[in-house]
C-alpha cells in the first residue's frame, strides 16, 4: 500500500444540536467529533454533559435537531449495523439468559457465520475471562463480569466502530483497569473506539479526547496538548500537619485557582502567569516543588477555576462542643442476608472533627455499613454509636445527631426546592422561627435562590447534590454521613463539596464519607477499605500506601494492590 497514513475516520459528526423538552439548554450544542480507526477516542465530561446523547446519535438511535453524523461513509441512522459495536450504559444484557446464550443471540443478530463462531467465541471468552461462566445466568454475574460480557456482546462480530457509554461507571478500579487494557488492545487491531467517561484520569490515557461540558465541546485533541498548557502551573507543598486548613488558606490566595490534599502535601493549580505563594503565607512546612499537571487541572482551568477555600456553610455552623466520646463507633458490625454476609465484623472509631472514608468496590458492603450506622438496618451482630448514643437503645437520639445524604437523590422530586427545605426542617423538629432561619441560611449558603420554585427533580445534578447537602445539615448535626456525595458532578462542584466538608470538620463536625474518586480519599484522616464484606485494611492514606507498598503513587494504585493482596490471601486459604 502506498496510501498516505492519514486514515479516513470511521465516524464523524458536525454541527450536532439536540434539544429535549423540559430542559432549558440544549443537550448538545453545535458539537463536532471525529473518531479515527485504531485509536482510543475519549469522550469526557460530567453527568448531564451530553455524552449519552452524542453516543446515541452516533449509534443512529436519536435524530439530531441539526447537524449530521456519519458512520462508515453513511448517515448514522442507516449505517451498517453489522459493523457497529455498541455497549449502552446498562450493558443491554438479558439477565435471564446465560453468558453463552447472550453471546449466541448477539452473534446471530450481527450475522456472524457459524464457521467463524467457535474461534471468535473462544477469543472473546478468553479475553474477558468468562470461559468458566458460560452456563451462568447473566443476572448472577458480578458487576465487573457483567460489564465484560456486555463488551463481549458488543464485539461478537469485529466492529469497525465501538461505542462504549461510560463502561467504567459503578465498577471498581480493578475491573476498570482490566476493561481498559482489553479495549486498548482492540484499538491496536484498527477499530475506532469511543470511550465515554466522567473520570478525568481516564482521559489522560486516550489518544484523542473530546471534553464535553453542558452540551458544548470545551476542548479536543491529544490530552497531553491540553495538559501541557498547565506546565509550570502545578506545585506541591509539603505540609507537616493540618493539611485541610493549609489547603483552605492556600485556596483563598488570589494566585491559586484549585487545590487538593495529596499524601503529606497539598497540590495547587496556579492562575496563569501567577507566582506560587511563599510557603510562609499558607503555613506550609516547605517550599513548593513543580508537579506534573493532570487533565483535570486543564478542565478546572477551562471552567474558570474552582471555588475559594472558605466554606460559607462552615462560617455559619456552630462549633461542635468537645467531648471525650468518639463521634462514630462501629463495634464488630455484621449483617447477614440469608446465607450472604454483606458486612462482617466492621470496626472503627471516628473522633470529633475527623473525616473517615469508607472505600471499596460496588457491592462490597459500604452502604450496608452506612445503613447500620444510621439505624436504617439492624445489625445481625455488633453495635454502633453515633455522638455517644447507642444505636440499639437510643436510636432516635442517634438519628437526631446525624445528617444523612443518600447515594441516590432521595429528596422529593416533585416538590420545589423551598418545599423540600421546609419539609426537612419540619422533619428534623425545628420550630417555626428556627426552621425559617435555617431555610433562609441554606438558600444563601448554597446559592439556591434562582431555583426556589423549580421542581427538585428537574434541577441540574450539581444543584441536586447541593440541595441534598443543604437538607442534611438544616438541623446543624455534629455528625454527617455522606454516601458518594460527589458522584457524577463536575470537578468544580466536587471542590465546593470538599471545601464545605473541610470547613465543617474544622468546626468539629465528624464526617463519614464514601467515594469512588481515589483522589478524594486523600482528604480523609482515616480510611477503611471494604472488600467482599470484609474490612481488609484501615488507616491513614499514607499508612495504606505503605501497607500496599505502592509508595508515592496515587491512592488508586494502593487500593488495587490491597484488593489483589486480599484476593491472593483468600485463594491461598481456599487452596489450603
Amino acid at each position: 500500500m502506498t496510501e498516505p497514513v492519514a486514515l479516513a475516520p470511521v465516524a464523524s459528526a458536525k454541527g450536532l444540536t439536540k434539544r429535549f423538552d423540559g430542559l432549558d439548554r440544549p443537550a448538545l450544542d453545535d458539537v463536532a467529533i471525529t473518531i479515527a480507526p485504531g485509536e482510543m477516542t475519549g469522550l469526557v465530561g460530567p453527568d448531564g454533559a451530553g455524552k449519552t446523547t452524542l453516543i446515541r446519535i452516533l449509534a443512529g438511535l436519536i435524530d439530531p435537531d441539526a447537524g449530521e453524523a456519519t458512520v462508515g461513509g453513511r448517515p448514522a441512522t442507516v449505517q451498517d449495523r453489522n459493523a457497529l459495536g455498541y455497549m449502552p450504559q446498562r450493558f443491554g444484557l438479558y439477565e435471564d439468559l446465560t453468558v453463552r446464550e447472550n453471546l449466541d443471540l448477539y452473534a446471530d443478530l450481527r450475522a456472524l457465520p457459524h464457521d467463524e463462531r467457535a474461534d471468535r467465541f473462544a477469543t472473546l471468552l478468553d479475553f474477558t475471562d468468562l470461559d468458566r461462566f458460560q452456563a451462568r445466568l447473566a443476572g448472577k454475574l458480578s458487576g465487573g463480569m457483567k460489564q465484560k460480557l456486555g463488551l463481549a456482546c458488543a464485539l461478537t462480530r469485529e466492529p469497525r466502530l465501538l461505542l462504549l457509554d461510560e463502561p467504567g461507571v459503578g465498577v471498581d478500579p480493578v475491573s476498570r483497569r482490566e476493561l481498559w487494557a482489553m479495549v486498548s488492545q482492540l484499538a491496536g487491531e484498527g477499530i475506532g473506539i469511543l470511550w465515554s467517561t466522567a473520570y478525568l484520569d481516564e482521559a489522560e490515557k486516550c489518544d484523542t479526547v473530546f471534553l464535553l461540558n453542558e452540551g458544548k465541546i470545551l476542548a479536543s485533541g491529544e490530552p497531553d496538548e491540553l495538559t501541557g498548557q498547565m506546565d509550570g502551573r502545578v506545585v506541591r507543598y509539603p505540609v507537616a500537619s493540618d493539611r485541610r486548613r493549609v489547603l483552605r488558606e492556600a485556596l483563598d490566595e488570589d494566585s491559586v485557582i484549585d487545590g487538593m490534599v495529596q499524601g503529606d502535601s497539598i497540590r495547587l493549580l496556579l492562575k496563569d502567569g501567577a507566582d506560587a505563594p511563599p510557603a510562609s503565607a499558607i503555613d506550609a512546612s516547605g517550599e513548593p516543588r513543580q508537579a506534573r499537571p493532570r487533565y483535570e487541572d486543564a478542565f478546572v482551568d477551562l471552567l474558570g477555576g474552582g471555588p475559594g477555600g472558605t466554606s460559607a456553610l462552615a462560617a455559619r455552623y456552630p462549633e461542635v462542643p468537645a467531648s471525650d466520646k468518639p463521634a462514630i463507633e462501629a463495634h464488630g458490625l455484621t449483617r447477614r442476608f440469608g446465607d450472604f454476609t454483606a458486612a462482617h465484623d466492621i470496626r472503627f472509631s471516628v473522633g470529633r472533627g475527623q473525616v473517615f472514608g469508607l472505600l471499596g468496590p460496588n457491592g462490597a458492603g459500604k452502604s450496608t455499613t452506612f445503613k447500620m450506622l444510621c439505624g436504617l438496618l439492624t445489625p445481625s451482630e455488633g453495635t454502633g454509636t453515633v455522638n455517644g448514643f447507642d444505636l440499639r437503645t437510643a436510636r432516635a437520639d442517634a438519628r437526631q445527631s446525624l445528617g444523612y445524604m443518600a447515594q441516590k437523590f432521595s429528596l422529593y422530586a416533585d416538590l420545589s426546592v423551598r418545599q423540600n427545605l421546609a419539609f426537612f426542617a419540619g422533619a428534623y423538629g425545628l420550630d417555626n422561627s428556627a426552621a425559617r432561619e435555617a431555610v433562609e441560611s441554606a438558600i444563601e449558603t448554597f446559592h439556591l435562590g434562582p431555583y426556589l420554585a423549580s421542581d427538585s427533580g428537574l434541577l441540574p445534578l450539581g444543584y441536586k447534590q447541593r440541595l441534598a447537602l443543604a437538607c442534611a445539615v438544616l438541623h446543624r448535626p455534629p455528625v454527617l454521613f455522606l454516601d458518594e456525595p460527589t458522584s457524577g458532578v463536575d470537578p468544580i462542584v466536587r471542590r465546593e463539596f470538599w471545601s464545605h466538608i473541610n470547613g465543617l470538620v474544622e468546626r468539629g463536625v465528624s464526617v463519614l464519607v464514601t467515594t469512588h474518586f481515589m483522589d478524594e480519599a486523600e482528604y480523609c484522616d482515616e480510611i477503611a477499605l471494604i472488600y467482599r464484606g470484609e474490612q481488609i485494611a484501615t488507616g491513614s492514606p499514607d499508612h495504606l500506601k505503605e501497607v500496599a507498598g505502592t509508595g508515592d503513587a496515587p491512592m488508586e494504585d494502593a487500593f488495587i494492590a490491597l484488593i489483589e493482596q486480599s484476593d491472593a490471601r483468600r485463594e491461598e486459604m481456599e487452596a489450603a
Binding site: F20, R56, A59, G60, L61, I62, D63, T77, R81, N82, L84, Y86, M87, P88, Q89, R90, F91, G92, L93, Y94, E95, D96, L97, E101, D104, L105, Y106, A107, D108, L109, R110, A111, L112, P113, H114, D115, C153, A154, L163
Partner: protein, 377 residues
C-alpha cells in the same frame, strides 16, 4: 440452527424466537398468568360464582292466628329457598338480624287472614340493607313463595289462579347449572385477554426498562421483526392456555361442547390478533411496565369482564354504555365462544365477528409499528 451467512434475516428471527421462548419458560410469572390464573378463574366461575341464592337463614314472625297465616308459615318452612331457624316476636328477631344470625325476617302481619279473604294479603320482609344482593333476592323469593302458596290455595278451592308468572319463571329455571354453562366458556375470553394484552403489555416495556432494547436497536434487526418475535410466542401461549381451559371446562365442569375443535381454534386465533395488538401497542407506547400493566387492566381486562356481555347482558345496559361495548373486542368473542360450546358451529354468526376482530387487529398493529421506531427519543 440457521447459518446467518446464508440467511441473515431468518437466523436473526430464529435467534430472537428462541430467546423469547427461553425467557417465557424461565419466568415464573408467565406461568402464573398463563396456567395458574386460568385454572383459578375457571374454578371461581365454575364453583364460586352463583348468580342464584339457595337456602337463606331467616326468622319468621307470625302476628296473625288465622289458618291462612299458619298455612303460609308452613309453606315458608318447607320452601327450599328458606331455612326458618327462628320464630317469635319481631322484637327478638330483630336482635338476631342485627347479630347476623339470620339474613331476613319474614313477617306475616296481623289481619293477614282477613286480607286474604278480601282478595289481598301481603307479607313484609325485613332484610339487612347492607347486603343489597341478598336483600333483593330474599324479597323476591319471599314474594315468590307467597304467590305460589296463593295460587295453590286458589286452585285447591277450584278458583282461577292469578299467579305473577314472571316471578314463577325464576324457579323453573335451573340457575346453578345454566350460569356455569355460560360463565365457564366466557372465562376463556378473560384468560385470552390476560395473556394477549396483559402479558404482552409487559414485554416491550420490559426491554425498554432494562435497556436491552437499546442494545438490540444497535444491531441490524428490524423493528417489524422484533415485534413479530414478541407476537408469535405469546400467540402460542394463548392457544395452549385456551386449550387447557377448554379441557377443564368439558371434563371438570361438564360444560357441553357441541361445536368443532377447528372452529374453536379459529375463533381463539382470530381473537388473539387484536388482543396481542393491544398489548404490544400499550407496551411500545408507554415503555414502562407498571404504567403498561395498569393501562392493560383498565383498557383490556375490565372491559372484557364488564362490557363484553360475559357477566352482564349488553341488552340490559344503558344506551350510551351499550354504544361503548362496540369497541370492546371481547364483545365479538363472547357470543362466538358461547355458541361453539353450547349450540355448535354457526358460521353465519362467526364470520362477521371474526372480520370485525381482524379489522381491530389491523388498526392496532398499524399503530404499534408507528410507535416502535428505531429511535430512543
Amino acid at each position: 440452527m440457521i447459518d446467518p451467512a446464508s440467511h441473515p434475516r431468518l437466523a436473526r428471527f430464529a435467534a430472537m424466537m428462541s430467546k423469547e421462548t427461553r425467557q417465557i419458560l424461565r419466568d415464573p410469572s408467565t406461568f402464573l398468568i398463563a396456567f395458574l390464573l386460568p385454572v383459578m378463574l375457571l374454578f371461581l366461575m365454575g364453583y364460586g360464582v352463583n348468580l342464584d341464592a339457595t337456602s337463606t337463614r331467616v326468622g319468621m314472625a307470625v302476628e296473625d292466628d288465622s289458618g291462612e297465616a299458619s298455612s303460609l308459615a308452613g309453606a315458608y318452612a318447607s320452601s327450599r329457598y328458606f331455612d326458618v331457624v327462628e320464630t317469635g316476636p319481631l322484637q327478638r328477631l330483630r336482635k338476631s338480624l342485627v347479630s347476623d344470625d339470620i339474613r331476613a325476617i319474614i313477617v306475616i302481619p296481623q289481619d293477614f287472614g282477613r286480607d286474604v279473604a278480601a282478595g289481598g294479603g301481603e307479607v313484609r320482609v325485613i332484610t339487612d340493607g347492607s347486603l343489597p344482593n341478598t336483600a333483593s333476592f330474599v324479597a323476591g323469593q319471599a314474594e315468590g313463595v307467597r304467590a305460589t302458596w296463593a295460587a295453590q290455595r286458589a286452585s285447591d278451592r277450584g278458583m282461577a289462579a292469578d299467579p305473577p308468572i314472571d316471578l314463577l319463571s325464576r324457579f323453573w329455571f335451573n340457575p346453578e347449572l345454566a350460569s356455569r354453562n355460560f360463565l365457564v366458556p366466557g372465562s376463556i375470553a378473560i384468560v385470552m385477554t390476560m395473556i394477549g394484552s396483559l402479558l404482552t403489555a409487559l414485554v416491550v416495556a420490559r426491554e425498554w426498562e432494562r435497556g436491552t432494547l437499546e442494545a438490540l436497536m444497535a444491531t441490524p434487526i428490524g423493528m417489524g421483526e422484533f415485534l413479530l418475535t414478541k407476537v408469535i410466542p405469546y400467540f402460542a401461549l394463548g392457544i395452549v392456555s385456551m386449550a387447557l381451559c377448554t379441557l377443564l371446562a368439558i371434563f371438570v365442569f361438564g360444560v357441553p361442547f357441541r361445536g368443532s375443535v377447528f372452529a374453536l381454534f379459529l375463533i381463539a386465533s382470530v381473537y388473539l390478533v387484536p388482543a396481542l395488538g393491544q398489548g404490544l401497542l400499550i407496551s411500545s407506547a408507554l415503555k414502562n411496565q407498571f404504567v403498561a400493566s395498569q393501562v392493560a387492566l383498565l383498557t383490556a381486562f375490565l372491559p372484557t369482564m364488564l362490557l363484553s356481555g360475559f357477566v352482564f347482558e349488553i341488552a340490559s345496559m344503558p344506551k350510551p354504555i351499550q354504544a361503548l361495548t362496540y369497541i370492546v373486542p371481547a364483545r365479538y368473542l363472547i357470543p362466538q365462544i358461547q355458541t361453539v360450546f353450547i349450540a355448535g358451529d354457526d358460521w353465519g354468526l362467526f364470520l362477521p365477528d371474526m372480520a370485525i376482530l381482524l379489522a381491530f387487529g389491523a388498526v392496532l398493529f398499524g399503530l404499534c409499528l408507528r410507535f416502535t421506531r428505531r429511535r430512543i427519543a
